[in-house]
């Protein structure tokens, strides 16, 4: 699980995340929405140890990310918006590298992921020859390799074809069902609507809405508007 307690982060004098309190329990798929520059990526980077909060603290599975970074990171996987792969490694070598990094020897785990993502055809080629979708699949495979308890995914669907979007959606859902905490940011309302257990909307660094889809729909019904109208209205005020 992930817990944010009174977390703030600024870039210079620009406040990007403002006193955020958020807790995502195990087995939940949390969909994080918000306009460009709202602070989604910044919030996620603090959970994976790339940034540290100015105030407050972030815990992953009970480990404070700033104080026990290695323990926290060994429990999580991060799929960033622009993932990094080694050009000069093959997909299989990359998976090998990752599984060794988590102290898991043998190739069964890797083989299993290769199978699941249908990468058998190109897994032994250098990753520099992969298309965007192939890279994305490899990144996901590597993220699931060590069976993380927490999965942080920043805009996972960008650039994927419908089949792969379906695949990623199913996998995220299945992971959550199996007890993994999934923290996903997205710009696609319908994806949040379809697979999210709970939805958070962040605007200008502050949580504007936090609740289940049913809560959100209820709110819409009260205000007599569609989900989209509601979202646009919520995110508009700030600008």
């Amino acid at each position: 699980m992930i817990e944010y307690h009174g977390v703030s982060r600024s870039y210079g004098d620009r406040l990007a995340v403002d006193h955020l309190d958020l807790s995502i329990p195990a087995g939940e798929l949390f969909a994080f929405l918000g306009p460009n520059g709202a602070g989604k990526t910044t919030t996620m980077k603090m959970a994976v140890g790339l940034l540290q909060p100015n105030q407050g603290h972030v815990r992953v599975c009970g480990h404070d990310v700033a104080k026990e970074p290695r323990e926290a990171k060994s429990k999580l996987s991060y799929v960033p918006d622009e993932p990094h792969l080694y050009d000069k490694l093959t997909g299989r070598e990359f998976l090998q590298f990752i599984s060794d990094m988590y102290g898991m020897h043998g190739t069964e785990h890797a083989d299993c992921e290769i199978e699941r993502f249908g990468m058998g055809k190109f897994i032994d080629e250098l990753t520099e020859t992969y298309s965007h979708g192939m890279k994305q699949r490899l990144v996901f495979a590597s993220a699931f390799l060590h069976k993380p308890e927490v999965l942080v995914v920043d805009e996972p669907m960008v650039g994927l074809d419908p089949q792969n979007i379906r695949l990623v959606k199913d996998i995220l859902r299945a992971q959550a069902a199996a007890g993994t905490t999934v923290f996903m940011s997205t710009h696609a309302l319908e994806i949040a609507e379809e697979i999210g257990d709970r939805i958070g909307i962040i605007v200008g660094g502050r949580i504007r809405f936090l609740g289940t889809l049913a809560d959100l729909k209820e709110k819409c019904r009260q205000q007599n508007s569609t989900l989209e109208e509601m979202f646009l209205e919520m995110t508009h005020e700030e600008n």
């Binding site: 982060r9 600024s10 870039y11 210079g12 004098d13 994976v48 140890g49 790339l50 940034l51 540290q52 970074p69 290695r70 323990e71 990171k73 060994s74 429990k75 991060y78 960033p80 622009e82 993932p83 990094h84 080694y86 000069k88 490694l89 070598e93 590298f97 990752i98 060794d100 990094m101 988590y102 102290g103 898991m104 299993c112 699941r116 250098l126 060590h146 069976k147 993380p148 308890e149 199913d170 996998i171 299945a174 992971q175 069902a177 199996a178 007890g179 993994t180």
Partner: protein
């Protein structure tokens, strides 16, 4: 799809040894693949790189060999003391260069790389991330150091007839030494980012420049400004005293030089065993300090790497639009007489290069290294003034500057056209002729390369106190080189564009880039040989050397003809390459 239980096998943190093994495996696999690809697809480029390195090595080797022989035979100044001074200055300057270059390399490698951003989200320890990047930095700055530092040592060994173990000990000594400035650079890099990242960038830049200026000024006053008349005994003494600053016992460069000189010492009789034992003692001193510094740096990284990374990422961003606008305005003023389209293109390119500090910093360092090497030659000349050798040296200097320039045009100018092509809809829709774009690039490249290289040549020549005619010829050759290399890069860049690769280094390392490098090398060797060769012959004959073979009148005619040919070939190359480029560019489809 079958969802597995996510906690089937709990992940485990690796210990230090396992981590080290894993990252060694990573380096090895990447290296293996890169080499295999290089051999399979670009054998030409690989052999070319090897060839160019060899040319540089051999050129430096002969300069040094001849220099030592001249010192020994003619000048009679080949004393242990002189050699010690020369070595110490040379390696002290190399140490400073290595320090700066590794600090910059590590800054780029750690704080600006996507790879480290990825590794930081894995449970890898910060010490290991640092070590991993540190070994890359040692490798990257170390091979240049060995390439430039070893010719002198091998030449010295030959001249003094050193024992076999001298040659055996050379490499370990140099490698152990290379770790020391790299370790210091790493510590300074980490600490600087940690403590200064929150400050505004102009403050950091200004203070860095101030420190650098102070260092340069003190080096200059210590080594090169003098009160006494040239070549008087007092002058010699003063020089010697000043030069001895480089022989501070606490400088790792002194340990290196002493180890080397001890290894080369050949004594007769029973004392001989001491020479290698002394050399090994100095090696041990270097190695233990190298390991110690590396340990300190990695401990420091363990404590501050994540925090400093965070500080840098979230520091106040300098508003780009204002900071260097005066530079742009200054450029605009200089160029105010040129046509508007060209002016705008030039300023755009200038801005792009200016905002890519990691790239030009590497070239700055390379030029700095060459500058130091010139200064060092100057100190040899002080110890034993001999005009013929100076002449040869200045000639080879020209060649070295040209070869560096060719790597610059290949790396920066050649890919520019391809990159422009990828975004061609921007320029293509502007109401300017396509030729104008190329013309702008050509001007940009020639001016951009001529400024630093002509200054470097001027520095080299004035330090060597060459006569005005030779300086003028050198500057002319430099101009021909810059214009020709720029035209080759622009012409080939337009003829063999790579419209897919995004990164300029990938474009530069492809087939077109390789061809560019080859043509540039041929052009340089031709121009330098034809224009500067006879001129140096003339100077030598004027000094009374080789007069049994050549008469002064003959060499003067040769000089004139050589220069004329070089100018003609230069102009033709520019014209021809640009024409090829124009034609290809006009027909290019984007």
């Amino acid at each position: 799809m079958s969802p597995e239980s996510p906690i089937a096998e709990p992940p485990r943190l690796l210990n230090l040894v396992e981590e080290a093994r894993l990252y060694r495996w990573l380096h090895r696999s990447i290296l293996k693949t890169t080499l295999r690809e290089l051999l399979a697809t670009s054998r030409l480029r690989a052999s070319l790189a090897a060839f160019m390195s060899m040319v540089i090595w051999v050129a430096l080797f002969f300069i040094m060999l001849e220099g030592f022989f001249f010192l020994q035979k003619e000048a009679g100044a080949f004393t242990q003391e002189t050699v010690e001074k020369v070595f110490n200055i040379f390696y002290a300057s190399l140490m400073i260069m290595l320090f700066f270059s590794s600090a910059i390399l590590l800054y780029g490698g750690i704080y600006q790389s996507q790879e480290v951003r990825f590794l930081m989200t894995t449970p890898t320890s910060p010490e290991r991330i640092f070590q991993y990047k540190f070994s890359e930095a040692v490798f990257l700055s170390g091979w240049g150091f060995i390439l430039i530092g070893s010719p002198m040592l091998v030449a010295y060994g030959i001249v003094v007839g050193a024992n076999w173990y001298y040659y055996v000990l050379l490499l370990p000594l140099m490698i152990a030494f290379a770790f020391i400035p790299t370790g210091l650079g790493a510590i300074v890099c980490l600490a600087t980012v940690h403590f200064f990242a929150p400050l505004r960038r102009p403050i950091v830049v200004v203070s860095a420049l101030t420190v650098f200026g102070l260092v340069a000024w003190s080096v200059w006053t210590v080594f090169f400004s003098r009160q006494n008349e040239l070549l008087t005994p007092e002058w010699f003494e003063e020089t010697m005293i000043r030069l001895s600053t480089a022989e501070n016992r606490l400088f790792p460069s002194w340990w290196l030089c002493s180890g080397i000189l001890e290894a080369a010492r050949s004594e007769s009789g029973r004392l001989e065993y001491q020479s290698w034992a002394q050399a090994i003692l100095f090696f041990a001193l270097l190695a233990s300090n190298a390991l110690f510094l590396q340990m300190i740096a990695s401990l420091l990284a363990g404590r501050i790497l994540f925090v400093s990374y965070n500080r840098l990422q979230t520091a106040v961003r300098h508003r780009r639009t204002i900071g260097f606008r005066w530079l742009d305005q200054w450029m605009t003023k200089i160029l105010s007489s040129s046509p508007t389209a060209i002016r705008l293109l030039l300023i755009k390119d200038f801005r792009l290069v200016r905002r890519d500090p990691l790239q030009w910093a590497q070239f700055l360092i390379f030029f700095g290294l060459v500058g130091l090497y010139f200064l060092n030659i100057k100190s040899i000349q002080d110890a034993a003034p001999f005009a013929g050798w100076v002449n040869l040296v200045s000639f080879l200097n020209l060649l070295v500057v040209g070869l560096i320039l060719s790597t610059f045009t290949t790396r920066f100018i050649f890919p520019m056209i391809s990159l422009e092509g990828q975004k061609f809809w921007i320029l293509g829709l502007l109401p300017i002729e396509r030729e104008t774009i190329l013309r702008g690039k050509f001007l940009f490249a020639s001016i951009g390369t001529f400024l630093p290289s002509s200054l470097l040549i001027l520095l080299s020549d004035s330090l060597l106190q060459l006569p005005g005619t030779i300086v003028a010829v050198h500057e002319l050759v430099c101009l021909l080189l810059c214009a020709g290399l720029a035209a080759i890069a622009v012409g080939l860049g337009a003829s063999i564009p790579n419209l897919r690769a995004i990164s300029p280094s990938k474009i530069a390392s492809g087939f077109g880039g390789t061809l560019n490098l080859v043509l540039s090398a041929v052009y340089i060797i031709f121009i330098v040989g034809v224009a500067a060769g006879p001129c140096h012959l003339d100077a030598l004959v004027g000094l009374g050397h080789l007069s049994e073979f050549f008469s002064p009148e003959k060499t003067q005619t040769a000089m004139l003809i050589g220069i004329l040919i070089a100018v003609a070939v230069g102009i033709w190359t520019v014209y021809f390459m640009l024409r090829i480029g124009f034609r290809a560019f006009r027909q290019m489809e984007f």
